[in-house]
Amino acid sequence: MRLHLKIWRQAGPDAAGRLVDYVADRISPDMSFLEMLDVVNEALIRNGEDAIAFDSDCREGICGMCSLVVNGVPHGPDRGTTVCQLHMRRFKDGDTITVEPWRAKAFPVMKDLVVDRSAFDRIIAAGGYISVNVGGAPDGNAIPVPKEIADVAMDSAACIGCGACVAACKNASAHLFMSAKISQLALLPQGRAERYRRVLSMIDQADAEGFGSCSNEGECEAVCPKEIPISNIARMTREYVKALWAAGR
């Protein structure tokens, strides 16, 4: 296959960026999208040109490192798929493909297609955990957790923290990301004790980071590579209201 690419190039955080045209030649349908970019980069490097910077690590859809907007859609056209798992058989010979970074105020572009997502870490630091020190934990089977509850908690826990939900949202809201963690921990008996404190601190932190609010567009759910359902946001909202009530805020 021969493809025409329009790729976002930006020299640094403060530089202006623009879309630059490239041709990707002899692309096999079995390649992943990132392997296609590797091929483009190899050609650039052979000519001594600066390679296109993009993030990836596991290349199997679990680390959440890869983060490309392909033809306007975070992670590209396949549902439930990270861009590292997107295969070129999804495209046709002669296609034009635009590749851009996540765009959100809270995720500044560092270079080309690489963004800074440390705001997500700070949201977790604000309260996305159960406060237990090592040592002294009771036996794992001391508190039974009904299978149905454990399964729903696992559905929420599957979030890979890639940030596609933010990139897809017109408000750049982090609600799907936050609500997945809040749901997981609120559903499990171990996480109950701190549930109100948790939801309040995490939402406060998200506001401070410059993430927007949620207006129920549902774009986040549509692009989530782990298909985390938007029902998590409803659960978070309920938790939040109860927490405000409990805190007398």
Binding site: D57, R89, V134
Partner: protein, 637 residues
Amino acid sequence: MTLDGQVPSGSIGDKWDRHKFEMKLVNPANKRKFTVIVVGTGLAGASAAASLGELGYQVLNFCIQDSPRRAHSIAAQGGINAAKNYQNDGDSIYRLFYDTVKGGDYRSREANVYRLAQLSVNIIDQCVAQGVPFAREYGGLLDNRSFGGAQVSRTFYARGQTGQQLLLGAYQSLMRQVHQRTVRLFTRREMLDLVLVDGKTRGIVCRNLMTGAIERHAADAVILATGGYGTLYYLSTNAVNSNVTASWRAHKRGALFANPCFTQIHPTCIPVTGEHQSKLTLMSESLRNDGRVWVPKKQGDKRPPEQIPEDERDYYLERKYPSFGNLVPRDVASRNAKQVCDDGRGVGDSGLAVYLDFRDAIQRLGVGTIEEKYGNLFHMYKKITDEDAYRVPMRIYPAIHYTMGGLWVDYNLMSNVPGLHVLGEANFSDHGANRLGASALMQGLADGYFVIPYTIGHYLAGAMLPKVTMDHDAFKESSDRVQRHINRLLSVKGARGVREIHRELGRIMWDHVGMSRSEQSLRRALSEIPKLRDEFWHNVSVPGSPDNLNQSLEYAGRVADYLEFAELLTLDALERRESCGGHFREESQTPDGEALRDDANYTYVAAWEFTGVGSAPIVHKEPLNFEEVHPTQRSYK
């Protein structure tokens, strides 16, 4: 140099408890006076940094990725072992210990393995308390599955994302400490040198991958938890940024590298499809619980699988190993896959694959159950191969997956360089010549949550550690060395990309130092590696500048280290003229083609000392004593 493993005296069951009592303590008020650097945020690094922060130490924690949550541990699928005996099927600490020593083909240190088995039970408790959503039975209790090399069900799991869930548990504990300011996080940093002052480890030099700045960080002790070196082979199941750089640079500062030739090849990966491929994807070993491995009996049989009648199929693992069947350990399963393919009975276009068939399990249990257990794996398989494994058998082939070798450590997980501790896959300690499935997660967390919090205190309380600042000559020397290396990489300005050279190195290693090794193949690799290293330093192209994000430069540094390390690994493989675990020497096999150990001559750990690039390293041997589990020829028949 004499290698002392510092194994405590006493009976195997008492060693750790006694040692915990005998170790020196740092009193609570003094802990915050000590700074500890932890490099790595995988299971080992994140659990260590979080635990040390909880104890009150000042922790500096580094990783390459943009967030600690993205460490390679996140990709582990299948599960984590623990001797809970919740299934009442005869499991015990002793049995897990026994299975691990045997599975490691009697090349690990008994005392370490016993401690690992003891701590396994605490890990599960800790993770449950953190909110790790392990799989549960309808009654609400924890569920288990079986893994290779064991006849009991002791593997805990969270769907096919066990590593992810355990890592997120550790990451959350870590972020809690970051919030409490006991841990300072340094993401997108690559450690490029270890700094020694008066023979003790006192810090690191790293590159800020965003700005290119060379940074100095001082501490009272350094912990490396930087993972394994599987990406030496270019194609592997490891994340693409995995590397040997931190370990190798520490090795160059004096840390011994132990058993580098012990590499693990995982039997169930999606086969290679072409030159473009950048990594191989693992299909969890748990699939072997229900999938049956087979190839056609006839050579060159190109019929589609469903047209091959039952009596023309060879379920070779079930045939050869009736008591373990499809659940034989990884090395055995991998070697057998290679044998049937070498025999001309491999399947798929390349002939380098075998079937993993779920037909019978689906008939027996229904599609629903199989989907429940392995849905995400089938989904992943479909995405990559465009095939539906509910209808046609999966095609699988072995790939490099894990490295048992690593920096040498004693019972306290300290290397021979005072103050340098090594945890997780980066050390050599617990898995001998072959790691059992679901035991790496267990080891990483045992090291980080339950071992290092005690042993680092013992070191800090006993060592004389005068204050060291970052303008000390040792830091300056080290940053100059790092800077020179970077300038050198950028100044070659040749014609070949790093990836191309890495691919070539991977091919040499896979062909000659892979699943099957011989005197001849190893000597051939030893002649080719230095040539390729030369080619790299004369003809590599590393564009861009050193003072901002430059992924070509990062990659070049890692491959440059691999080009040195490859030689050590190969030499270790050459010198170990026996077959054991993942290391198969063609000259050392039984009449029916099974690996043949040579206990009389090789019951030791080979720990190598660096003497210079291209100059012969010196081997130091730590003899292994087996007081509990008596080495026998491993048999899974």
